[in-house]
């Protein structure tokens, strides 16, 4: 597979089957550094499976995934885990923060796992919490903050390692409109500042409107909507 020029992460002919269910059936994808791509589609269309394959969480049955010049689909589990820690960030809809840790400890966690000492890790975490406008929550535990605040803490944690690719799966799914919009504004601003690519899975058009372009997944197949017009 030859990646499209300038692409950071791309996939070709992805197929993934779970028992009798075909989750992906020839899906394609590509994203450039600094680009925000929305992955849309009805429930059960395969959009989350596509995200999990692209992020190296799930191995496709067939097809190729290239990250920079490396074939993700040919890496060992250990290599993919290392890559996820160093180059990828994740934001999900629910339950991402460790309830026993304070918010700043949660945000610092990926750096601590990569071996950064506590003080510099928490300093970097605070910088990202300021950017996400939640630095005043540093000493609180996740159970003491609102859903919108908790999601901003989760975004800060996803960005603290300055990943090259941020994977966001329904990041505003549990938030009201105003909080959802603020999270999207801060998330896309922060990603653009660091030139990170964002793979944004959403079924909400108002969230997808924060992207640069969208692909639609239906029955496991993807369609690049730029080419639909």
């Amino acid at each position: 597979m030859t990646p499209p020029p300038g692409s950071l992460l791309c996939a070709e002919q992805l197929r993934k089957v779970y028992g009798p269910t075909v989750a992906l059936d020839g899906a394609e994808f590509s994203i450039h550094p600094g680009e925000v791509v929305a992955v849309m589609g009805p429930s059960g269309s395969g959009k989350s499976t596509l995200l999990h394959c692209l992020a190296g969480i799930v191995t496709p049955d067939s097809g190729t995934i290239m990250y920079q010049d490396r074939e993700l689909s040919a890496m060992s589990d250990g290599e993919r885990s290392a890559l996820r820690r160093s180059d990828f960030g994740f934001v999900f809809q629910f339950g991402q923060l460790v309830p026993e840790l304070t918010c700043v400890e949660n945000v610092a966690l990926p750096l601590r796992l990569n071996g950064t000492p506590r003080r510099p890790a928490e300093q970097a975490a605070l910088k990202w919490m300021e950017r996400l406008e939640v630095d005043d929550l540093a000493k609180k535990r996740p159970g003491e903050v609102s859903g919108g605040q908790g999601q901003r803490v989760a975004v800060a944690r996803a960005l603290v390692t300055e990943p090259r690719v941020l994977f966001a799966d329904e990041p505003t799914g549990a938030l009201d409109s105003l909080n959802g919009e603020r999270v999207m504004e801060l998330l896309t601003d922060a990603a653009r500042t660091t030139n990170a690519a964002v793979v944004l899975v959403t079924h909400e058009a108002r969230v997808a409107a924060y992207s640069d372009r969208e692909i639609v997944v239906r029955d496991g197949r993807s369609r690049d909507m730029e080419r639909a017009v």
């Binding site: 058009a205 108002r206 409107a209 969208e214 639609v216 909507m225 639909a228 017009v229």
Partner: protein, 174 residues
């Protein structure tokens, strides 16, 4: 909604008299607002003048002559152009979108493509509004929000219709 394009699209199935065209229009698209005869004949005169239809046969009767109209090559091209050109996103265009989808089904075109092209156009409009909202003051934000909610409703309709295309095909081609 463009009555001219809709009548042209109906003619793609084969030549029809003005009365048959009105009846087909009312049945498929008229609902509670049937066409007036005057609208049909003035529209057909315009289409004839523009070379999009031709008179296929004339029948003499007790009253005025009855003309049977047929679509021309230029007419087919015109319908094709109308169906494949997205509408400018604006509130309350469902009736136009509905007509386009039904006509695409009736003329064996790809109705899913009609919906996808429109969907992409709507999302493009929503991106422009979202960007304006981010850079604007509260008044801008509220004005953009109003438009965004309407466009979001259109998009939900487009998605729902895409999911029901097979049933709609069965219903309209019965």
């Amino acid at each position: 909604m463009s009555i001219g394009h809709t009548l042209l699209g109906l003619l793609e199935a084969g030549p029809r008299h003005g009365y048959d065209l009105k009846r087909a229009f009312d049945e498929k698209f008229g609902h509670d607002r049937p066409l007036h005869y005057g609208q049909v004949y003035s529209t057909m005169s315009r289409l004839l003048k523009n070379g999009l239809v031709e008179v296929d046969a004339v029948e003499a009767g007790d009253g005025p002559e009855r003309k049977r109209y047929a679509i021309t090559e230029a007419g087919v091209t015109d319908v094709e152009r109308w169906l494949t050109t997205p509408e400018k996103p604006e509130p309350y265009l469902q009736s136009t979108l509905y007509t386009k989808v039904v006509l695409a089904l009736l003329t064996q075109r790809n109705a899913a493509d009609v919906l996808d092209v429109q969907r992409a156009e709507h999302l493009r409009g929503m991106r422009i509004l979202t960007d304006r909202k981010r850079k604007g003051d509260l008044a801008d934000q509220l004005i953009c929000d109003h438009a965004l909610f309407h466009m979001e409703a259109d998009l939900r309709w487009l998605e729902l219709t895409a999911a029901r295309l097979d049933k709609l095909r069965q219903a309209v081609t019965r």
